[in-house]
Symmetry: C2
Subunit: 352 residues, 2 copies
């Protein structure tokens, strides 16, 4: 654990994650990867999922959309709590959402599960969650690697990563370049932190507030563990039919980096986004973290989803039908619009 | 690190890896995965790579072959040495070989790289190795996840996993059921330990022999680091053309579990293998580990490749042409034959 004073506001950098260093290395990684690209590669790294086709000349051939993810330090909460059943769903749903925003449906998934010494019960509990997530997404759990690395992980610790491959007809891929100024932005609610911001959230709950995982948090109406282990939501059932109906132009999965870093990935050059802070009630969990950690607003926005798990870009006149169709899956809302410029501008006041 | 006496013979279980516990949990994982299988799945978990097709009805359609792997505690040696350039190649080549033995050629690769706090230099060095391995295999590095998990990994430690997808025409897949009693087994030499047996090997070199990574080992003619960091060999250039020429019936990548656990995966029910111990000179590295660690022979065989990185099953009368074609890539040799029965029987005496 990094040594750090408890005084002063908490930021994600202070909690041990250096976003800028990560950015610099990622730029070099991107350059290295590009050198390997073959004619089948249709995307650059940096999209939510990588695109590959076996038929580079076929405009309506199948495109494979692939993504790799981990669960991050949410695992620490699972390990503190001894509840390992949901992190597998977190992993699968994160991957499912990453390829969904490109227009793809899951085909198959592989996992990588590693611990110092394999605890058969924990292993099976984690993979059962992976299998449950896969089954819900109609995705085959095609294989995986279960590794023991003695001396690498402390007793009771493990890491888990996942890889998904989905498919989409090339002419049905969601395309950032279909987005125009004036298009509407429709938000879907998240279920808690999903899988981002846990280094900071753990500092707040376990160090600043001095809570234990099983403590009740009156402001949240549940225990710390319940709040922090809520499973990453899959948007496939809600958003899949909208994509099939041709109602979605582009979409952003709101993960690490929050709305400011993820929404622009769904927008073309010259198009920015205006987000109406007053359009939703921020869940109490985020307010608690902000206040207890004295976290600056910009850090909150770059670290957490703030209650927004996915943003769809839709034609302005399609907003009504999109909201209507989302209803049965848990209501979405109009969160803003596409404007000339670049990046994300927050306007208005957050509702308390 | 597990606490353990230095006296008595070293076994892989003693070094902290429980193969039986892993087997029990893996059987349950396999059952859980099967529930998720969709009509596109052509394999059961347990093959070297999972098989998926978008065209279940097409006997000559493209089959996707996918595999996930890690590097294991070979990473510890890289981290002790500060040489991070080869573990990426280890990772890619391991994956390339896993799908090659099904008949598939690499299409794309994704990596998962995780550390406590991202060291940009180390990250780039590792991923550069991944990119180099991908480029050599004609495989696109399509994406990946680079994660910081503060408090999970000690400073200087990282883990890396990889995920490959390859392709093969369904009617060109290597098929275990094409193997007959009397078929010949052709071995290809490994380059050191590849990525298996490092928990045990590290105990021998660093605890029993008390060596440092930069110490010269006269019996090996190189330093400990040079011996232990030799890159996992890719068999694609040597074996790919043999598969294209229809000369290979089936093949086994010799990884964790050694010849006894991996070769049977390339054989049908009712067919076993007889391995001639006198057919090759065991590399000095394995002899040194066996003797210094007083490792029982069965543990040696279930833990290490013993100089054999891949075994091809070929028609008996094709052995000559296969050996001739392998020549320019480093000679292979006839290591044994397929016999009635099951499992692997070692015959004769190992050459010193």
């Amino acid at each position: 654990m990094p040594d750090r004073s408890d005084r002063g506001p908490l930021t994600y950098e202070g909690a041990g994650v250096s976003i800028d260093a990560q950015d610099r290395a990622l730029a070099e990684v991107k350059r290295l990867a590009k050198v390997t690209f073959t004619p089948g590669v249709l995307s650059e790294i940096g999209s939510f999922g990588g695109l590959f086709t076996l038929e580079p000349e076929n405009p309506s051939g199948t495109v494979l959309v692939a993504s790799a993810d981990g669960v991050g330090t949410k695992l620490k909460v699972a390990q503190m709590t001894g509840r390992h059943g949901t992190v597998g769903e977190d992993l699968v749903n994160h991957c499912v959402n990453d390829i969904l925003v490109q227009g793809a449906r899951p085909l198959f998934f592989l996992d990588y599960f590693v611990s110092g010494r394999l605890d058969p019960g924990v292993t099976v509990e984690v993979i059962a969650g992976v299998a449950r997530g896969c089954a819900a997404a109609g995705c085959a759990l095609l294989g995986g690697e279960t590794a023991e690395m003695p001396g690498f992980y402390e007793p009771g610790e493990y890491d888990v990563a996942g890889f998904i491959v989905g498919g989409c007809r090339r002419d049905r891929l969601l395309r950032v370049d279909s987005v125009r100024t004036g298009d509407a932005l429709v938000a879907l609610p998240s279920a808690g932190l999903h899988t981002n911001g846990y280094s900071l959230a753990r500092k707040v709950f376990f160090e600043l507030l001095g809570l234990e995982v099983d403590d009740e948090v009156p402001a949240l109406g549940c225990t710390v563990a319940d709040a922090l282990l809520a499973a990453h939501r899959s948007y496939l059932p809600a958003v899949g039919p909208l994509i099939d109906a041709g109602l979605v132009k582009s979409a952003a999965h709101i993960t690490g980096g929050g709305i400011p870093d993820n929404l622009p990935r769904a927008l073309p050059d010259g198009v920015g986004a205006e987000i109406e802070l007053g359009s939703w009630d921020e869940p109490a969990l985020f307010r608690l973290i902000r206040e207890a950690g004295r976290v600056p607003e910009d850090d909150m926005r770059r670290t957490f989803n703030l209650g927004v798990g996915m943003i769809l870009v839709v034609a302005e006149d399609a907003t009504g039908v999109v909201l209507e169709k989302l209803g049965p899956h848990g209501p979405g809302w109009a969160i803003g619009r596409c404007v000339p410029g670049r990046g994300v501008r927050f306007v208005g006041e957050q509702r308390a």
